[in-house]
Symmetry: C2
């Protein structure tokens, strides 16, 4: 093979092939809880394609911007900079998913506390809330406040369905559940979050045992106020303790 030219010389000569490229976008599933159900923040499209339908906030990825940065920027631009836990979900790249042009979109999950959800609604008036109901086959129905079903644009219903499934799958062994709660919370609030996401009722003593035995929670000695019954203790999420290798490996992403 002989001597190889230096990396610097190679790079100077490099001329990137310029075939037609898909556009790259990020879309955000802005997810919070409302009335014991998962809730979304959507934008009603007033232009073609899919005018009148509701869509996930999104935007194109800049040429000098990482995917994470693009998702964070969209959060600022389209949701008034609400604080949210962001994580990549899945990349959708069907050829005809957008009739305008070829767009590959990297869908992200953005989890909002109740306060952040309300703040985003206040700061970005174009956003409209919708509640999410999971159907039997893993698809979802999104409804406006008046109960009317909303039709989502593009493949966004599929993205929302995947977001909910992913959240359900990670809920028990990851810290995502805490992204939907304020800094201090009661065990009942934590259980309410799990029940809302999973759409099931959970056994209270078993749930408490499991959460406390994990060592992720710190009791603060403070108690909720304003109740007409025995106030519950407030806890703080510490973080997932240093994991043994086998624990690290035992669950997926």
């Amino acid at each position: 093979m002989g001597p190889v030219e230096s990396e610097a010389a190679f790079l100077a000569r490099y001329d990137p092939a310029d075939y037609a490229r898909p556009a790259v976008a990020v879309d955000l599933v802005l997810l919070g809880l409302s009335g014991g159900r998962p809730a979304l923040l959507l934008l009603r499209r007033d232009r073609h394609p899919h005018a009148g339908r509701h869509a996930l906030p999104g935007g194109f990825v800049g040429i000098d911007e990482s995917l994470d940065d693009a998702a964070a920027r969209v959060l600022v631009e389209k949701a008034g900079g609400a604080r949210a836990h962001l994580e990549q979900l899945y990349t959708f790249g069907a050829v005809e998913r957008d009739p305008r042009m070829r767009i590959v979109t990297v869908a992200h999950l953005a989890l909002l506390t109740e306060a952040a959800f309300a703040e985003a609604l206040a700061r970005a008036p174009a956003l409209q809330p919708g509640t999410v109901t999971a159907s039997d086959e893993g698809s979802v129905t999104v409804r406006a406040a008046d109960g009317a079903a909303l039709t989502l644009a593009f493949d966004h219903a599929e993205i929302v369905a995947l977001a909910l499934r992913r959240l359900q799958g990670k809920l028990d062994y990851s810290e995502v559940g805490f992204a939907l709660l304020p800094e201090l919370f009661t065990l009942r609030q934590l259980q309410d979050v799990h029940e809302a996401i999973l759409g099931t009722r959970l056994n209270k003593p078993a749930f408490r045992r499991r959460m406390l035995d994990r060592g992720w929670l710190e009791p603060t000695g403070q108690f909720e106020t304003g109740t007409s019954y025995r106030p519950a203790e407030l806890y703080r999420f510490l973080r997932i303790p240093s994991q043994t290798p086998s624990q690290t490996l035992s669950k997926g992403d």
Copy 2:
């Protein structure tokens, strides 16, 4: 808002904005088992950048090609069309991950049976095998047959590490484990697959009970041959039985 023009009229007029776009690629983690360890198929780079390092097979996504199609095409072009279970893993989009130009790559996991692994090696002579060892913190080391550690190009070590973690996470509740086995297999072979992926020993009676109680397996009444000991019964993977909604929702992707 007044009447809206028809969707067809809008589309005819639509002129896609043409900002600079990242290139979109797919990379494949071709994963099989070799000697009780996970094993990869890699291409040794003979050009800058990262000349001499080993890289995942990959290719650009065509403008009229879905991500899945692109991954399948790369499997054909770079792995001799080996049969493999393909699934999307994660999308890597750091700005400087490739010094030549901005490339967003959608990493895929391609699981190969032992036969498919050998066939790919035979049909695509450029491929080189490497065994994967997981380290404590979730990173991986890839070694050539002679035990020498291989340095992977770009962010491919990170991609391989994620692939292994994902596989470990999905192994117990999904059908991915069967993608590494031939049509007919013994329970011991199935357990060997799980032990190789997880890097741990498993309890035999418990493993058998769990697998058989799931109803995913059909005993064939056939037995392995050529052993010098009691031959084990061969089983076939049926498929994951129809799931109740709560089961469908109980685990992530």
